[in-house]
Every structure is written in structure tokens, then in C-alpha cells.
Amino acid sequence: MPAVLAARADWAASAFPAGCELFEGVVQDLIDELGRLPGVGPKSAQRIAFHLISSEPADIKRLVDVLGKVTEGVRFCELCGNVSEQQQCRICRDTRRDGAMLCVVEEPKDVLAIERTREFKGRYHVLGGALDPLSGVGPDQLRMRELLARISSDEVTEVIIATDPNTEGEATATYLVRMLRDFPGLNVTRLASGLPMGGDLEFADELTLGRAFSGRRSL
């Protein structure tokens, strides 16, 4: 094998996947559509496509039905903004939840992530994104006004800000802190950011380690 091909094969065998093959007509269309989904590369798209092709027609019908319903419109909880089947979502309807604690997140998927921890017993408020002027997102485009209304009327005593630890998420957190500091008796906290569990200190990147240092707590 010439050196060039040997080198390419070597790399292809490594963790970097190769490009996609071409199929005909509707199969390729399916692969292309799947490949547009977030987190699905050409190889995964191919795998999913062929899985679907060889599946029971009933299974595919179910998927098609669900997709159909989604396109007809997904409902959002009128209180917190989470995705919901009814006017209010499961968490907002649950009377066992602690209404004094309110956790502010960017997206519905963040609610899911926090729910999985089973640590938090309060309620949520979904902003629907983060401040991002480049994409034309300002406070007006986020559910800020609804948040203010909830805090003024409900029995909320603590707001936990759980926006992403990136530039836009930090900016949103700063904005919330400024907006909420005028509420008397309201405790505003921010999720700690720092070292991952089960990890090694030596492998943490400097930014994370630096954050962990500045956010240290006394024991």
C-alpha cells in the first residue's frame, strides 16, 4: 500500500470516523434528514436509517404518529414554561413540591437533568434560552416577566440560578441577580461550578479548577 493510503487507513482506524457513502433515492433522503439532527453524524444516520427500514411497520407507524403530534404543536406549562401535556406541567401540579424554592433554567432539557438527581424538591422556571444578542435574544425574548410575576405573587423565598456555565449563561445569571436583588427577603443563589465527581484533580482544565477554587466552601 502506498504511504498516503496507509496513513489514511491508519487514521480511519483511529477514533475519527470516515465520511458517508451514497445510497439511492428515498434511503439517502432518510439518511440526510436524520443526519441533520443534533448529535447524529453520517455513520449514526446510516445506522438509524437501516434500523428503521428493517423495523416492523407498526413500530414506524408509532414514530410517525408521535412526530405528527409534535408538529401539530407542543404545549408548554403556563406557569413554568416546561413542555407539558396539560395547561400546567406535572411538576407544577404536584402539591408535594416545595413552592418556596424556584430553580431557573434555560431549557426544558435542563429540568430533566436536574430531576434526574432527585435532589431538588422545589419548582422550576424555564427561560427558553439565554441572553444572546447575536441571535437577537434579549430579556424580552426570555420568560423574564413571567418570572417576576411568579416571585411577586408566590411564596418563593429562594431562587436558584441554574443557567449554563458559558458566556451567555453567565450573562443571563448576572442579569437575573441584578433584577432580583431588589426583592426583600429573597435569597438568590447560583449553582456551584467545579470539579466533576469521580474525576482526577490533575486532569481538570485550568478554568474549571480555578472556578472550583474561587467557589470553595468551608467545612
Binding site: 487514521w11 465520511g19 430579556p139 441584578r178 482544565d205 478554568l207
Partner: protein, 386 residues
């Protein structure tokens, strides 16, 4: 530090090159357009995650190929590491260390350290302030890789703030945006925090670099009390920078102090910023002033003096990196042809003592005798050892 082996695949003009390298000088000789510089560019890319010739990745990938691959075996003291980098324009570049899991390219910063001398260096002296800011920031990242993150955070916050300034400016006369002021406050904070980190890094760097640059210039141009070379950081926020910051033997810059200073400056500049729709103060508007005696080098220095100053900045960087980490790899890209006898001799003197130096030249006569180490011919898509 030296590269023991360099493999390049689908990078620039090269389908594939595999080179065993050693310590001391290695010279690549060949006519122009044969891809000598591309090899040095590849080494530089591993150190900087960017090219000294182009701003985007697309031109780095060979025509009709999806990605370029760089791989190097790096020896540092008695340790050897393998670094790999996959450059795929339009997608996320990936890197691997010692054939482990793919990681962010940023994670390989600091494994390869280089100082590159190239004909483009003249623009360090003659070009726009952005050239000199880039020089400082690149050096900063090589010394402390965490600044790669600081730099991108700052650029992101700056883009966001500018976007907001533009949309807020447009509404003038029309409906007043009730959120504009309070949202700007937030982006001011983001910009000031990242900016303070970057500014502190640059100020401390200049404090250390300045004496090296002055000494290096004297070594090249000879002693002349009226034409001493000075390197001074000149901030767009002017006198607000605390005394002693950025000066040799002065104070170490405190990011917390600078955050406050930057916030004040941004607040003061807000009206003008809104008017123009861009952020007018901050590290992205700062300048590394290069002075010869009392006059700025830019515009006032002769062609020869400009070259001496550019060399002095690179030699100063080399000394600075060397003092901390041991010899970086010296890359001399076609520079000897640009220099007169004296500057040539001075550069050769430094290069001959470097642990590894990679040199390119169009003809053999361009390479000083001291650097006649291993010699490769570059022609017809091949690199052959003599």
C-alpha cells in the same frame, strides 16, 4: 524540546510526508512554491492551533480533501509524547495525545512550543496594532495555555456586546428598548471580567518581555543610546491602568483591580459606543507601542531598523519561553534572504545553540554556514535527504 518525527497528511500541498528529525539544525532547500514553508506551518500549527499565514483553516487542507492530519513525536527532556491534530474546516477540529481519546485541540497547547521567524514578521513593526496584539496573545497562550480560553471568552463577550450596541443604536428615535440599559450592564460585566484577565496577562507579559526585546535589539543593531528599543503596553483606557502595571520590575497586574477599571471605562464610553455601534475601549483596542529612542518605530524606523525590531521581538520571545520551559523549537522560514550580513549573523548565532531549528531557504547560499546541519531537498512533491 524537539520533534523526533513529523507526519503530515493532506495538509496544504502535501498528500503525505513522513520525516525523521533530530536535534540541531535541519534545512529544507527548494524552489518557491514547493511546500517548504508548509512543513514549518504544520509545526507552528501544533503549537499555536493557527497558521501564521492565514486566519481560517480552509486553505490548510489539500484541495478536494475533507481534512488534514498532523502528527508529531515530541521529545522533552527524557519524555516522549505523540500529538495528533485533525483539521476539518467547517467542523470541530480534534486532537489526541499519546493515541488516547480525541480531545479539544486546546488540550494539546503547551506540548509543542515554537518561535517562528518569517518574512511576514516585518508587519509586526510596520503593520496595524492588531498584528502586535496577536503577537502578544499568541505568546501569552504559549506560556500559559489557559489564556486560549480567556481569549475566546473575551472575543465572544465582545461580539455579543457589539451586537447589542448595534440593535440598541438602531432603535434611536423610535421605540425605546426598556431593557437596553440593563442588558448592556450585564455584557459590560462579562466583557470586563474576561478583559481584565486578558489585560493582566498581557501587562505581565510585556513587563517580562520588554528587557529581553531591548537587549536583543542591541545585540542586532549595536549599542546606540539615542536609538534604544523600547516596548510599552499602551491601553485604550489610558491613565486608568494602575502605576507599575506592565513595567519591568513593577507590580504584578491584579485582574480584580482591572475589572473595576474596565467597568468604569466601559460605562464612560457607553454613550459613544451606542452612537458608533461598537465597543471603543478594551483590550481589543490596545496597542503594543514599539519605540526607537523617542520616536515610534512604525512610520519612523528605516527598513533595516524595522527588521531589527521584528527580530528583537521574536528573539525576546525565544529567550522568555526558554527561561521557563527549555528551548522551544526555532522555525526560520525563509528569513535569511531578507536580512543583511549582520542581522543574519546574529540570528545564526542564536539558532546554532538552539536544541532544534528548522530552516527553509530557496537556495543553499541563503543558509549561513553555521547552520549546515541535516539538509533536505524539497522538489516535485517529495522531501529527500541529502
Amino acid at each position: 524540546m524537539y520533534l523526533r518525527r513529523l507526519q503530515v497528511t493532506d495538509f496544504r500541498s502535501w498528500p503525505h510526508v513522513d520525516l525523521d528529525l533530530g536535534t540541531g539544525p535541519t534545512v529544507f532547500v527548494g524552489q518557491n512554491g514547493r511546500g517548504k514553508t508548509n512543513l514549518l506551518e504544520a509545526v507552528g500549527y501544533l503549537a499555536m492551533l493557527g497558521s501564521h499565514r492565514v486566519a481560517s483553516d480552509a486553505p490548510l487542507v489539500r484541495h478536494d480533501c475533507e481534512r488534514a492530519l498532523l502528527r508529531a513525536a515530541v521529545v522533552n527532556g527524557d519524555r516522549e509524547m505523540t500529538v495528533e491534530l485533525e483539521i476539518s474546516p467547517g467542523k470541530t477540529n480534534r486532537a489526541r495525545v499519546n493515541r488516547g481519546q480525541p480531545t479539544r485541540p486546546r488540550d494539546i497547547l503547551g506540548i509543542v512550543r515554537t518561535v517562528l521567524f518569517a518574512p511576514e514578521d516585518l508587519s509586526l513593526v510596520k503593520g496595524d496594532p492588531s498584528e502586535r496584539r496577536r503577537f502578544l496573545d499568541d505568546l501569552l497562550v504559549q506560556r500559559a495555555p489557559r489564556f486560549a480560553g480567556v481569549r475566546s471568552d473575551y472575543e465572544k463577550a465582545l461580539r455579543q456586546r457589539n451586537a447589542l450596541l448595534k440593535t440598541s443604536g438602531k432603535r434611536k428615535g423610535g421605540r425605546e428598548d426598556p431593557y437596553a440599559e440593563s442588558t448592556l450592564d450585564v455584557w459590560d460585566t462579562q466583557l470586563a471580567e474576561a478583559g481584565a484577565q486578558l489585560l493582566a496577562g498581557r501587562l505581565d507579559l510585556v513587563a517580562e518581555l520588554a528587557p529581553h526585546a531591548t537587549a536583543a535589539y542591541e545585540g542586532i543593531a549595536g549599542q546606540n543610546p539615542d536609538r534604544q528599543a523600547h516596548v510599552v503596553y499602551r491601553s485604550s483606557i489610558g491613565d486608568a491602568i494602575p502605576d507599575g502595571y506592565g513595567t519591568p520590575g513593577g507590580k504584578q497586574a491584579e485582574p480584580d483591580t482591572l475589572t473595576e477599571v474596565l467597568l468604569d471605562a466601559l460605562r464612560e464610553s457607553r454613550h459613544a459606543d451606542l452612537e458608533r455601534g461598537v465597543s471603543l475601549v478594551g483590550p481589543h483596542r490596545d496597542e503594543l507601542a514599539l519605540n526607537l529612542g523617542d520616536a515610534p518605530a512604525r512610520g519612523y524606523a528605516s527598513h533595516g531598523e524595522s527588521w531589527s525590531f521584528a527580530l528583537a521581538l521574536r528573539l525576546g520571545s525565544y529567550e522568555l519561553l526558554r527561561a521557563e520551559w527549555g528551548d522551544p523549537v526555532l522555525l526560520l522560514d525563509d528569513v535569511f534572504a531578507e536580512l543583511d550580513q549582520r542581522r543574519r549573523a546574529r540570528l545564526a548565532e542564536v539558532a546554532v545553540n538552539a536544541e532544534q531549528v528548522l530552516v527553509t531557504a530557496a537556495v543553499d547560499e541563503d543558509v549561513p554556514d553555521e547552520l549546515s546541519g541535516v539538509r533536505y531537498r524539497v522538489a516535485d512533491g517529495e522531501v529527500s535527504r541529502e
